[in-house]
Symmetry: D2
């Protein structure tokens, strides 16, 4: 039985605690938060929990085998590193760290100490995203043309990172998981409507070394909640609407057929093709539950989650580049070579 400690019982922490309480092989033994009221809420729900306002106490607690970091981004590195140094396995809320340098250090430290490190890219454990990867891998969509996502709603404004780090990060993790390719450059634009605060509305374009483009619109300041992704391919196109209670994934047999115009070798004839739409049934297991099981199993088997860690690093590299581009009004920023 793996003892789990959760640092941060704000918005996402309760979901982490609930899931790690309900899966086999693990049990949450300790929760820390700076806010005592939050700890009181946690104890009401789980009377057996140890709670503390001191994250160091949690990290040093000998009953804690694995530490989950569910705090603002700026503290991910320090807390994650302390936990690794204390010999704990670590699961860190997305994004993995505030910089690629920090992310790399965490990965290296985990490898050196043979501890399991995982970043919480929750969406990659959903039935919908797994279905998209399955369709791409099987070639069902043909050549992939674009990924376009809108992820907007009202709130929650973050104080330490802009909206790309908070919301677009989900799409970067999904793109990395589904397409398994890395952008070569990004361009980002955005705005803050509160003086001195990070951008609350932003647009991010990812360029690749293939005729594929990725784009994310992220905002904390929209009147409606939208979670809608288009994944276009030469053979089929997918609409993924995460707000829909059912039929989240719709596969459209639509596209264009391009032929040479018989009357002119210089001209292409474009024909529009529309066929059936298909909404495959999806695995409806809660993503966080699948992820928790995945993490616990890796600890039990002593198997490093290398792919997931490298994905976490790639995502942070893009976020860093995006923030630089944002400051330059969309000026394109190239991503360095893969480490």
């Amino acid at each position: 039985m793996i003892g789990v400690g959760v640092i941060g019982y704000g918005y996402w922490g309760p979901n982490l605690v609930r899931n790690f309480m309900e899966i086999p092989g693990a049990r949450v033994v300790c929760v820390s938060d700076l806010n005592k009221d939050r700890l009181a809420v946690a104890r009401t729900r789980y009377p057996a929990l140890t709670t503390t306002t001191d994250s160091q106490e949690l990290i040093r607690n000998p009953q804690v085998d694995a530490v989950i970091v569910a705090t603002p981004v700026s503290s991910h590195f320090a807390l994650g590193m302390q936990a690794l140094e204390e010999g704990k396995h670590v699961l860190i809320e997305k994004p993995l760290a505030s910089s690629a340098e920090q992310a790399a250090k965490l990965i290296d430290e985990a490898a050196r100490r043979k501890r399991i490190l995982l970043v919480d890219h929750t969406f990659t454990y959903t039935g919908a995203v797994r279905k998209m990867r399955e369709l791409v891998t099987a070639g069902s969509l043909g050549e992939i043309y674009y990924y376009d996502s809108v992820r907007v709603n009202l709130g929650l404004f973050q104080h330490d990172v802009n909206v790309i780090w908070d919301l677009a990060v989900h799409d970067l993790s999904i793109m990395d998981f589904v397409l398994r390719s890395r952008p070569i450059a990004v361009s980002a634009t955005g705005i803050s409507h509160l003086p001195g605060k990070p951008e609350n509305t932003a647009y991010l374009t990812c360029f690749f070394d293939s005729p594929f483009i990725g784009h994310v619109h992220a905002s904390w300041l929209a009147p409606v909640k939208v979670r809608r992704t288009l994944l276009g391919g030469s053979a089929k196109m997918v609409m993924y609407d995460d707000i829909e209670p059912s039929e989240k994934i719709r596969v459209y047999d639509k596209g264009i057929n391009v032929t040479n115009d018989p009357e002119s070798i210089y001209k292409l004839l474009i024909q529009y093709r529309t066929g059936d739409m298909w909404a495959p049934q999806l695995d409806s297991t809660e993503a966080l539950r699948s992820e928790a099981i995945h993490f616990v199993k890796a600890i039990e088997e002593g198997r490093a989650l290398t792919d997931e860690c490298e994905s976490g690093l790639r995502v942070v590299e893009i976020l860093e580049a995006a923030t630089r581009s944002l400051a330059g009004r969309g000026h394109p920023v190239e991503l360095g070579a893969r480490r």
Copy 2:
């Protein structure tokens, strides 16, 4: 009775002919198109029409007082200029011309010859867009924060211009009409999936000298048709969904209230405010009919449509800048001083 000649009877031409046939004070007398089949279709519907494959013949036809140019963008300038030189009034399909220089020449020529020139910014005549302008002008939305629009569908690929010139142009005309302010710079990204062809998928950000941002996603390669605009203000926010058969405009009493944290002068407290939603009834007159009446009335009264022409020019300036930015992967392009 004003005699109207329509050049181009492809996708949009039939709508122009139908509307100018049904309004008082005008009558379509001649239609030209390079394609004889299209002319046959026109004659079946309107047996009294004169048809020709030669646009010059139409322009010189003495029964034609006003020429409507509904052809690909690249021919707008030449045909519009010929018609003006022949002493005709001119209505040109959006965008007004292929370059700001051409647009300015058309405007100057119309002024010199005292002929009415109008660019067909159709959406600015819809009940929905007029309601948005009314709300903004009345201050109902508070300070305007952003304009965000998605205008995507499958087809129709254009051969002479990219998708920004074809689809995003609608949003640029709407933004100009609703907000009455001019961007100072743009950043655009996009992609073509057909070698040698213009971009079919593109993203355009407009920067202003105020804390406002405009963004348009335009594509000919989406599996679903989307026409959805968000207009965010400090007091209220609007969602304009042009696909909805009714309730195209929804006004949300939603937003944030920002106050200084009493415990810390350095911190802002953000509160999320949600209230009623309201969908005002809209004028449902067909936009093109209102526009046709507007054009005919200006001819009858001899009143130059200066505002509309200047708007047509500003939109072309943005399109030119966007195309340059597109070539530079989002590199921001500043718009020159107002002429």
Copy 3:
């Protein structure tokens, strides 16, 4: 070339004229309407038309080979019979007549005079309804459990018939076409909110001699337009939403599996099954065009449309029974033997 005369140029008449003008083999030569303004509209659109306020003149017009009756229900029989007696082919707006007796007389007269008679059950010519029939015929839905339809909107109140005769008639024609079975009894309830006027809101249940039930909700007094039909089967279920611009037909791989409980022979175990959803591409030809071609072809070939006429009669039989049940607050009314 078959000369067509259309009696009634109100709501539906213009669609009939437009379609019969555009198909090969026919041409509308004459339109009659009691309202001179409507005739003026018709002439503006089609300058070559003969128009008259006297339907008798149209019926006797030697250029008219086929008469289309698009008038209120109460006049269907008289006008249709006059046209048949004059030796014309006849297409009558739904429902065929005001009573089963009248409908049967029309059918007999057409047979006696060897003239083509057709009732305008428009929906049976749509791609959506034809797809439903195809699915049922192929057995894809399994045993058919129910047909449930909601057909409501604001207006247009009829003065001579209740809302079942005006709106539910569409569903009766669809059920007859898709399921090819005849109800044995009906129960109808409803209300009129205008003293002395026919029911504007009504509910109709059709009973069959199999474990299948049909139900229609029809209203002229709803704030939203709904055209939504559920067709449930033991293997699959269909939702047909005619308001949707695309994906009008959705086939759900959903249902129940019933097994005997191993622990008790008296108990059934019900398992809920949910699988993929599939929206087949549909033929998008305008229904009225297909119907017009069908009618013209039958005239050309001299082939009586017996099935369609019998369907028209069956529908009127149900409507008559429904009106009797309505007066008895749902008291069930049995349908007599098939003629």
Copy 4:
């Protein structure tokens, strides 16, 4: 602190337990269920709970002041009566009992013993339904014309009652609450697709002694989940869509205006009126929480919930009449005089 015992920990029981655990003034002390696995689930969530498979034990438990009956309908009366006889307060799942006679006995027994009795008409505690009542009471909708509701989904088939008792009961409780008037007769139709089992699909019409009609479509055998109610009035109309995450209530300024035709005293002129739509913000407190607080407060204050009990009885009277009508294929069944 009121001690609460919950009989039945199946579908609805967990919601009852959670809410009574979280409100002030009460605490769930005991849960009973015939299924030991369900009890184990309850204990995992709430380690301090006493659990038992014997409902009698729970009823006699001296720590239990109030008994909640969340079992199949057929056991409501016996369990509720036993609890009252033991001197407990009682909250019974909808519907109150299997017959009006039983319901009346429960009410009388509670009055005699001065114990609080409440039936769980959950929807009457939602912000949406309360807003509808508020609009009706304030006269905002004008004269009320109809209530029409569709409440369908796939499952859960009940074994002891038909779908009217299981699903339409919600609408009967809403109608009673919103309109405060009692039907004079009902007509119901329906079908069972499983031999010997209660109807899984049914239609219920309620007649009143005013020009108002109520109708409910209830089904356990639909491919999609629909919870949509139309409430039509002479001044405004409401659509209540409980599936919508926000804007559940939409108020349409739509309707008809009826005037006498100036040209004919026998004719009414009907004009269709369409105006704004308005979606008021709703109280989003969980309904069951409000209800639990209401119940606990009544116990604390010793105030009998007479109105709620009478409503529970009226609803059962309608259900009984509906079942009789169902057996007679819609034959109308009159409701007796108010007791």
